[in-house]
Symmetry: C2
Subunit: 376 residues, 2 copies
């Protein structure tokens, strides 16, 4: 909670829940990444929060951008960054979208299969491609499925196919999993990346780049290592596995860039019990899974919640959203401690909500408007 | 797949996935409910699909409406139904939203706690309220949590509180769970409702109405009982538990009204394998969990999928959406059988998608537009 956000909320007159992002925190985060990994290019993962003000600030600071679609590419261009600073990082692309990106000047594309290489060779001839490899994601809060990437043994084949098709086989990418708090995860992944470099070199193709993805945590309720610790661990792992021939490197922070820069203000709509002797209260907010807090799915992310009554005695409660949908419950398996004095109409502040809230919001489920967003 | 939808899709020129709903099927469904339960009022659950054309058709056919918010109430009024045909069925309401609904003419409200009764007594004096009771939901595809309703033993207290506050204690409601295929579920719930009627009468308050909620299934891959079978089972249970003093009854079909009236047309973006010896293909569509197919969460709903290559040999595949998000996978634990000949660029038709697709769509996650919707 920054002073600027506090001041903004004090003066806000509109009704309903909202997220407020403080650009000063985004700037600090960008600079922390740049300082911790001075030789690494930062590609902001636009999907985390594509607010135009955030994109413009990062463009101005010199950031590059990881885009998932032509829509995101257009947003980045509109924010003032050139196409040379864009990576089309989605391994799943329609050929006509690749063509459109190429037309807009994009020359860097992700792949994880021969079929995708073929599309890029046709629609974006001569471009650079990097091959995403599967990573086990041990230690991540949200271990990734096998959706993206191929097994490391297959990567040299995919890259060789790219090379033979007139593309530039540029490098490899991996993603250690979201909210990755285990610093060793990068070491394992970089060892694997180095093995792909060696095998590809053996085939006469010199790779140049390692895209280390995202996964840098925002601070929720658990303590997580800070950005400097990540930088040190990554630099050490790079030296260990690549020796004196360090590759160009890219990171793609999304949550790590904007997560702790924003908070959601919400309102308590109802507090009730299901029976006269129910030990746990139900607290219903005017925001839930369908309007910004989708990441509470399976109670994966536990947001810090502040109230004006903090310091009073607390008791556990089930926390739920306002829709007529039974899955719209935030914390039930592990009830949340909130002040006993909390009352209907009270405001609550949900912290570390700058990432994956506005974009995960539905268009208007149950007739409630999408999450209002302010970037200050 | 109706002939009208087939014809519409043949002539559609826009790019990207879309849902198409055929109003003729909605009309048939409405009439099937009206025939099966001639003495029961149909309150369409607007949240299932609030497309203006659907609301207008149902308003014209004489339907009433179950609304979750002031936003939905305004949509129903705009579609031409009067406020006397609206139930504000959400048990979680801000007091200022209750006041706004009252101002718009709404006089029927759901409650499940004393705190909600107090709000309605202040903001909508003299209105009718019904108390939602918890139901175990055995047999439902998506058993409901305890989010809505109080234990049946508490309902007479809540209704007595309403009566003492100058409201009309009108009845009780329950919801047997979504996609409820067990006809006995209604019998259990009606027995409980009758017990609440008796206890409330003992306290000198005569309830008049039972709101039997929704839960009527749409036809996905499993066979489910048709509407007439539901009607018969419900009528029998009403007679058994209420004898000659049958209450007014309400049902709130949402999925049962529009689910099978719509289908989604999508495109195959990529087909690949994760390793050279991978037994299962990955098939990526241009639609996934974030743009309409949220109900595949936990693989709960298994949509029927048609392709132009049906009849060819099939093999299992993992089915996934187009976003850079690892949770955007539709069917992985139980792979989906699709033709081996399926190719990148093929169209697929996902059936029974008329409910909970447009409204569950995000505002634009990953830069992809929300689900396009056509009602014909």
């Amino acid at each position: 909670m920054t002073e600027r956000i506090r001041e903004f909320l004090r003066r806000r007159t509109e009704d309903g829940p909202c997220v407020v992002v403080d650009l000063d925190v985004v700037r600090d985060n960008y600079e922390a990444f740049a300082r911790a990994l001075p030789d690494t290019s930062v590609y902001y993962a636009v999907k985390a929060n594509p607010a135009p003000e955030i994109l413009s600030l990062l463009a101005e600071l010199g950031s590059s951008f990881d885009c998932a679609s032509v829509g995101e590419i257009e947003m980045v261009l509109a924010a003032g960054a050139g196409a040379e600073r864009i990576s089309y990082g989605n391994t799943i692309k329609k050929e006509r979208d690749i063509a459109r990106a190429f037309e807009l000047g994009v020359r860097l594309f992700a792949v994880d299969s021969d079929a995708e290489v073929d599309k890029i060779a046709r629609a974006a001839p001569g471009s650079k491609v990097f091959c995403r490899i599967l990573c086990d994601g041990v230690g991540a809060e949200w271990p990734l499925s096998k959706k993206f990437g191929c097994v490391p043994e297959m990567a040299p084949d995919v890259l060789e196919q790219a090379h033979r098709s007139g593309l530039v086989a540029h490098g490899v990418s991996f993603h250690v999993g979201s909210q990755q708090a285990n610093l060793g995860a990068w070491d394992n992944a970089l060892a694997t990346a180095a093995a792909v470099f060696r095998e590809t070199a053996r085939r006469g193709i010199e790779l140049k780049m390692v895209n280390m993805g995202g996964g840098f945590p925002a601070r929720y309720l658990k303590d997580v290592p800070g950005v400097p610790a990540y930088g040190q661990a990554i630099f050490q792992a790079l030296s260990d596995h690549f020796g004196n021939r360090l590759p160009e490197t890219i990171i793609e922070p999304g949550r790590g860039m904007v997560g702790d820069a924003g908070l959601i203000e919400a309102e308590v709509v109802l507090i009730s019990r299901k029976s006269a002797d129910d030990a746990v209260r139900w607290v219903y907010l005017d925001i839930g899974k369908f309007h910004g807090l989708a990441e509470t799915m399976d109670e994966a992310i536990r947001y810090p919640i502040r109230t004006a009554r903090d310091g009073d005695e607390t008791a556990p409660c089930v926390l739920a959203g306002p829709t007529c949908d039974s899955v719209d419950v935030l914390y039930e398996k592990t009830p949340y401690e909130l002040p006993v004095s909390l009352s209907i109409g009270d405001k609550v502040l949900i912290e570390a909500c700058g990432a994956y809230t506005t974009t995960y919001s539905t268009v208007g489920f149950n007739g409630f408007a999408p999450l209002a967003s302010y970037v200050i």
